[in-house]
């Protein structure tokens, strides 16, 4: 094993980790806001990837330009999912937890089924994008441009999110609602509006991730599944509900995955992630940055 191999592994892991963070942050945001785990998170990612693909295939819009459009579309989609489904699920009189789980879980299955019906289970790829397939090589270390841009988008998105939550009225309303949804009603904040916007924001972030991913990953109805699993681990690792925990969690997962593959056979590379996850659960159950 040379130094070059190690640096290359860590660089690839870091890039992938930043993307994992971007995929996971929407999940963390929604959970932090209203204690609901969105089990359809992977399917949100899938829809975003398909949307990027169709914008490319029918209108020749490059994924890079499509990203804001996809994020906007997912924002609307997320808000609609809240208003039509989750809003009612959280009002359930009995067994609220189960109702929430099953409603988003059911949504996931429906979305996957519809995607398979309408888009066919065939594997799609965006073959010629501006960045697709391009690679920068620095002293023998290869950095694929789509992932590099994805990592930058991720950092920018987290930066914007930080500003948004800490510096804007809506961000403060979001924080307040998350602290005490009952109390905010007294000061005239519409809880439903904040939740809907929170869902929209969470979905928009995963939409952004989907658009970036579409540049280098294949697209099919089940594509969300493996990323969603990593997103749940990322969120649990970073701390449930903590937006910046997701950022840190993503990086940790990416780096651990890459370094495990250096030591163990690659088929066991997820072992590292889950080992770290278990360790965190045992030693610090609320996650690295969790506040619960």
């Amino acid at each position: 094993m040379t130094a070059q191999t190690i640096i290359q592994s860590l660089a690839s892991g870091l890039l992938m980790g930043l993307l994992y963070g971007l995929i996971a942050v929407g999940l963390a945001l929604i959970f932090g806001l209203m204690d609901v785990v969105n089990f359809a998170h992977g399917e949100f990612l899938m829809i975003a990837m398909y949307l990027t693909f169709f914008l490319f295939a029918f209108f020749a819009i490059d994924p890079l330009l499509a990203a804001p459009l996809v994020a906007a579309a997912l924002f609307v989609f997320g808000a609609v999912v809240y208003l039509l489904i989750v809003r009612f699920a959280v009002r359930a009189k009995a067994n609220t937890g189960m109702v929430q789980i099953f409603s988003t879980f059911g949504l996931a299955i429906v979305m996957r089924g519809l995607a398979q019906f309408f888009f066919t289970p065939d594997y799609r790829s965006i073959t010629h994008s501006w960045l697709g397939g391009k690679t920068i090589s620095i002293a023998g270390i290869y950095l694929p441009v789509p992932q590099l841009v994805g990592a930058l988008v991720s950092i920018a998105a987290f930066g914007a999110l930080y500003f948004f939550i800490n510096r804007t009225d809506f961000g403060r309303a979001l924080e307040a609602t998350r602290e005490d949804a009952g109390a905010v009603a007294l000061v005239g904040i519409d809880k439903n509006k904040v939740f809907a916007l929170g869902w929209g924001l969470g979905a928009a972030l995963v939409g952004l991730a989907g658009a970036v991913m579409a540049m280098f990953f294949y697209i099919y109805p089940d594509v969300g599944a493996s990323f969603a699993l990593i997103a749940y681990v990322t969120v649990a690792l970073g701390g449930f509900g903590s937006v910046f925990g997701a950022f840190a969690g993503g990086i940790v997962v990416g780096l651990v995955e890459a370094s495990t593959a250096l030591i163990l056979p690659p088929s066991l590379k997820s072992v590292g992630i889950y080992a770290v996850y278990l360790l965190v659960v045992f030693v610090r159950p609320r996650g690295l940055f969790g506040s619960i």
């Binding site: 592994s9 690679t135 290869y142 990953f217 099919y220 995955e257 890459a258 997820s270």
Partner: protein, 414 residues
């Protein structure tokens, strides 16, 4: 004995109950279960397979002038012209679902035979259930060699398995070496279910036997979100030939990641699976000029056997795709099974099994480059000769073995 009213009623009820049976006997029907992933990550395979089975069904149930068993004539003459009906079941690539679905097909749908399954891991459980109910199982497109070595009496496979496929690859390497091409080192890259594992083991064994050095033997997790660590090890090994055994998803990601990390092997010789799928070439075909894959089917055969072209056209009309290594094997599986049922003149599992054991179909009466279809005592057809195909200019051409080849191999690949 006096005949009471009750007796008359009973008799009437009994004959009424028998009526549907009698009616069924007049329009006989043979029900065969077909079990594939129709949803989940490999659903497209199942969807395409369905079209292939429907093509074969049409040829059996209607009259076609092909030199193929049961093509001329309608239905199964051995069973009074009975038509075949297929019942499709979805196993979602999950061995446990496969087990449950096989059981349902046998007990609820009353199928007399089952064909499947694409994933070898699912074939394991489905064939066990078939064995228990004494229903013949035909592995249409499973290629793991361990499948037929389990001592099952009701297991049959007309197509080659991965040791035969891998042997063909090494025969090809030997032939290339004789011509002076340098092939000393190999990198194996295989996924972690039974398909990849068996294929990797077979290749490792052959490499050792024939004096090739395996510089990297990488087993990876199927459907990984990222393969950059794996590709790096392949790159570090930099073997003369890269030998992947991957399904479509991983195949696409492998080729993309290789390009991203600047790894270009001088040759790729793939164990089929993803590398026979249109989706893979749609996604990364530009990076695959000159890739070699094994196969059991080649459209080049259409030049010698016109019916291959016609059947391909029938399939293409249904699916929008050309017959490939999978759809062709699926097609043949139903033909071979139906041919045996026809000879068995019965839908009884044991009788069909006996007929399958006695199968002897000459290669010319198939759409494959095979010598013939004849099962050994383990249910494997050892006369199914594999071919190697090279992807050149957007299509596959047969390059090996010499008797089937239409072109010389381009080596190294571009």
């Amino acid at each position: 004995m006096t005949i009471s009213r009750r007796n008359v009623l009973l008799g009437a009820t009994a004959s009424a109950a028998l009526l549907p049976l009698a009616a069924r006997a007049q329009a006989p029907e043979v029900v065969i279960g077909v079990i594939y992933p129709l949803s989940g990550s490999s659903a497209q395979i199942g969807v395409d397979a369905q079209k292939s089975y429907e093509t074969a069904l049409e040829i059996i149930n209607k009259y076609y002038d092909f030199d193929l068993p049961l093509a001329r004539g309608e239905g199964l003459p051995g069973l009074g012209g009975a038509k075949i009906r297929l019942v499709f079941a979805d196993h979602q690539a999950d061995p446990q679902k496969g087990r449950a679905e096989a059981e349902r097909l046998i007990t609820q749908e009353k199928v007399c035979a089952i064909i499947g399954t694409y994933q070898s891991a699912v074939a394991v459980t489905v064939s066990q259930i078939c064995e228990r109910y004494q229903i013949p199982f035909m592995s249409a497109d499973n290629s793991s060699p361990s499948l037929h070595r389990r001592g099952l009496k009701f297991y049959f496979r007309a197509a080659p398995h991965d040791e035969m496929f891998s042997a063909a690859m090494f025969d090809f390497f030997d032939a290339m070496r004789k011509k002076g091409t340098r092939i000393d080192t190999l990198s194996l890259f295989h996924e972690d279910t039974i398909f990849g594992t068996d294929s990797g083991n077979a290749q490792l064994k052959l490499a050792n036997e024939r004096g090739y050095k395996v510089v990297a033997d990488i087993k990876y997790r199927a459907n990984s979100p990222s393969l950059s660590a794996e590709v790096q090890q392949l790159k570090a090994g930099n073997a003369d030939v890269l030998m992947p055994s991957s399904y479509t998803t991983d195949g696409i990601l492998l080729i993309k990641t290789m390009a991203e990390l600047g790894y270009k092997p001088s040759a790729i010789v793939a164990q089929d699976a993803g590398f026979s799928e249109k989706a893979l070439y749609d996604a990364v075909g530009d990076k695959l000029e000159g890739v070699i894959s094994r196969g059991s089917f080649s459209l080049d055969l259409a030049a010698k056997r016109p019916m291959v072209g016609k059947i391909n056209a029938m399939y293409k009309e249904k699916s929008g795709k050309d017959l490939n290594d999978f759809s062709s094997r699926q097609f043949m599986a139903l033909i071979v099974m139906a041919e045996a049922i026809n000879r068995a003149k019965s839908t009884d599992g044991d009788k069909i099994r006996e007929a399958l054991v006695a199968t002897n179909i000459p290669g010319e009466s198939t759409i494959m480059p095979w010598k013939r279809v004849k099962f050994d005592e383990m249910g494997q057809n050892n006369d199914a000769d594999p071919v190697l195909l090279q992807y050149i200019g957007g299509k596959f051409v047969t390059i090996f073995p010499p008797q089937a080849a239409v072109a010389e191999a381009t080596w190294p690949m571009k």
